[in-house]
């Protein structure tokens, strides 16, 4: 079939939590392209669908959610600039779909009126229309349509076919034609906004909009979740359960991946003759990738819970509970969500700071995000703890678990101290409001959770397949060449390029107790922290001949490192500046080299200082 020549460019606009993105997914299916707006890192989601008549192609842009055309965040500014044709490199839309939540028209309708002023042809999508009907909301939709003087269609973003009425309307409306001039827009005054609100209330009365009382169960849930004493308790229990799940549920799939990797290595060892190729595949690729892949289950579990809390509407309530506490070190309660994500990985955490309206607050949050113990550090912690910390009980707790908890706590405390210092240094500032919507609770949809989870897993696997794989191969090359001279007595790797780099770096790291193998492993660890374990695996596996690398690594380091060295390395990884992905994300998010450089420098200095103190205190105790 010929490509339709009738093309309409439509922008989806709506307040946060109006189900706009779900509706976008429903309309465009997998015909989507995700990129960034030029020069900023706000996500630009575009897709298209062909109308039922087959003669029109509707291009849909999903704009960031906004309460108003007067922005308070970067996301909201992008939406406004796009709509009024001020965004560089973007043509303004030919048509606007304003997505509104039918169960909350008081909050949603003002934006419709504000958008109508722009004079762009518009369709209003009454989303959650199924929920509105089943909960007993009343609305005369025809009346609403005649009051608004734009087409109004009912949609259900979460059900198959729920987008049909909207898709048909967009297919059938007369083509709006090209935009002749830029939109005239000026910021409304407070009185004008208040007048619009009065108009909203008049329209809602005219359309006989009636809301049922809030469900008792939801009100009771709020009474517990935001209770002065129970609320923080619920939050603490939730966080504890999440971390518990990350460590205990992940154990079984992690063992499975571990065994599969070992099995794959053995297979290749049996099939290929001893030589360079076998060494590359077994010692370089499989050993390296295996040690990174093994913690995919932990990433999945952590992100599953974060998505679950996000979808259910709990996260903003947690931000509410923590606002005062975080305010004491100069952070906003809104920083809670990015910081929680940073426990999985600092990259999505730093990207999530876009919802913090104030640039100062946002920068502080970005700067401390890498101090949250990301899951990439777990393999390092796990390896060292298994090798050096005995599994003995301390009261009801396990010593290994306590050490791990201490490491997490050290990161959080360091983050608070750094935030406090930044606040002190930058002096008194203008006030940054909290003012936050607490959206109604929703049962999370499994399909949404899985979709979000798959996005995260894709990013991770992509990294494993590209950056990490190539680094492993480079590292293997550096570790294998040149071959030791004939009659050499030490391990072969000691004579290689890697050995030379490691020996050179060891001079810098000797004062904090790192040997040349550790110093060497820190180099590829720059690409991603977890690679440090893979690199240790590679370095030590090339020293020895036997089979299973990772299980051999634990006793090997237990024999060759002192306890002081192990503790020093743990302290190093609490601060661990070596993550290029994080620094690259900060560069992108702040659009400057200044902040990633400051971040790298301050984290390196803190890490070195902490390791130095740890090492020498431990030595002082004779460890």
């Amino acid at each position: 079939m010929a490509e339709p020549t009738d093309i309409v460019r439509v922008a989806l606009v709506g307040v946060p939590n109006s189900g706009k993105t779900a509706l976008f997914n429903r309309l465009t299916g997998n015909r989507q392209k995700v990129a960034n707006y030029a020069g900023v890192t706000v996500e630009r989601k575009e897709g298209f669908f062909i109308g039922r008549r087959g003669t029109r192609k509707i291009q849909v842009l999903d704009l960031p959610g906004t309460y108003s055309l007067v922005p308070t965040t970067l996301d909201e500014a992008i939406t406004r600039d796009f709509l009024v044709g001020r965004l560089a490199g973007e043509a303004p839309p030919e048509m606007v779909v304003c997505v509104v939540d039918e169960t909350n028209l008081q909050l949603n309708l003002r934006l419709v009126l504000e958008l109508r002023e722009l004079g762009v042809p518009m369709v209003v999508a009454l989303n959650f229309s199924d929920v509105a009907e089943s909960r007993g909301f009343r609305l005369d939709r025809t009346r609403l349509e005649s009051e608004l003087r734009v087409p109004v269609v009912a949609t259900v973003a979460v059900a198959a076919g729920g987008e049909r009425a909207l898709a048909e309307t967009l297919d059938e409306v007369p083509h709006p034609g090209p935009r002749l001039s830029n939109v005239q827009w000026r910021e409304p005054s407070l009185d004008e906004i208040a007048a619009t609100q009065l108009e909203v209330r008049r329209i809602l009365r005219s359309a006989r909009y009636e809301q049922p009382l809030r469900q008792r169960a939801l009100a009771r849930l709020d009474a517990v979740v935001m209770h002065p004493l129970l609320g923080p308790l619920v939050l603490a229990v939730l966080l504890f359960l999440i971390f518990q799940a990350v460590f205990s549920w992940a154990a079984i799939p992690m063992d499975a991946i571990h065994n599969a990797v070992g099995w794959a290595g053995d297979q290749i060892r049996d099939w290929l003759p001893a030589g360079l190729l076998r060494s590359l595949l077994v010692d370089g690729v499989i050993a390296g990738l295996g040690s990174v892949l093994v913690f995919l289950p932990q990433i999945i579990i952590l992100f599953f819970f974060i998505l679950l809390l996000e979808e259910s509407g709990y996260l903003p309530r947690a931000a509410f509970l923590l606002d005062r506490f975080m305010g004491s070190v100069g952070l906003s309660g809104r920083a809670f969500i990015p910081l929680l994500s940073s426990f999985a990985c600092a990259v999505p955490g730093i990207m999530a700071t876009r919802t913090i309206p104030n640039m100062r607050d946002r920068l502080t949050t970005i700067m401390i995000a890498p101090l949250m113990t990301c899951s990439a550090r777990l393999p390092v912690y796990a390896l060292i703890i298994a090798a050096f910390i005995p599994k003995q009980a301390v009261g009801p707790f396990n010593l290994q678990g306590l050490v791990l908890f201490t490491l997490y706590l050290a990161g959080i405390l360091a983050a608070m101290a750094v935030a406090w210092l930044i606040k002190r240094r930058s002096g008194p500032q203008a006030y940054h409001p909290l003012l936050l919507e607490l959206p109604e609770y929703h049962w999370p949809r499994l399909s949404n959770l899985l979709l979000g989870l798959w996005d995260r897993v894709k990013v991770f696997l992509n990294r494993v397949g590209t950056v990490i794989l190539s680094l492993m191969v480079v590292l293997w090359f550096l570790s294998s060449f040149p071959a030791p001279p004939p009659g050499a007595t030490g391990p072969a790797i000691s004579y290689s390029f890697a050995g030379m780099i490691g020996h050179a770096l060891a001079v810098i790291f000797a004062p904090i107790g790192f040997n040349w193998q550790i110093s060497l492993a820190l180099v590829p660890g720059l690409a991603a922290r977890e690679v440090a374990v893979g690199a240790l695996g590679t370095v030590y596996s090339l020293e020895q001949a036997s089979g299973d690398i990772t299980s051999a690594l634990t006793p090997m380091i237990a024999q060759t490192w002192s306890l002081a060295t192990a503790l020093s390395l743990l302290a190093w990884f609490v601060f661990a500046p070596q993550c290029l992905s994080t620094l690259a994300t900060v560069r992108r998010e702040t659009n400057s080299w200044r902040y990633p450089l400051i971040m790298a420098a301050y984290l390196f200095a803190l890490a070195y200082l902490a390791s130095f103190i740890t090492y020498h205190v431990a030595r002082g105790f004779g460890l």
């Binding site: 709020d222 002065p228 909290l434 936050l436 109604e440």
Partner: protein, 90 residues
């Protein structure tokens, strides 16, 4: 009963909004106009019923309010300009 500021109300108090005042002393001029604007945009307008549904221990700040079909979290300083005719105080 005379109008009082939302910032003085405790958990459980209900009433009707009578005005959103521009009160630059407490927050500074720029922050205040951002806050007032957003409050009005979110529906803090005269005639709306409002209830304080939560406050955070130990200082009772920030607070959460129920307004129409939505709940909002805000600090007491931000609530200062919202004047309420109280129906049932606690």
């Amino acid at each position: 009963m005379p109008d009082v500021s939302l910032s003085t109300l405790r958990k459980g108090a209900r009433g009707t909004i009578t005005a959103v005042r521009h009160n630059p002393q407490s927050l500074g001029d720029e922050a205040q106009s951002t806050v007032s604007r957003r409050l009005i945009e979110l529906g803090f307008v005269a005639g709306e019923a409002i209830e304080v549904i939560a406050e955070v221990w130990p200082f009772g700040d920030p607070i959460a309010v129920r307004l129409g079909a939505t709940s909002f979290a805000l600090r007491r300083r931000e609530a200062e300009g919202v004047m309420v005719e109280v129906m049932s105080a606690v």
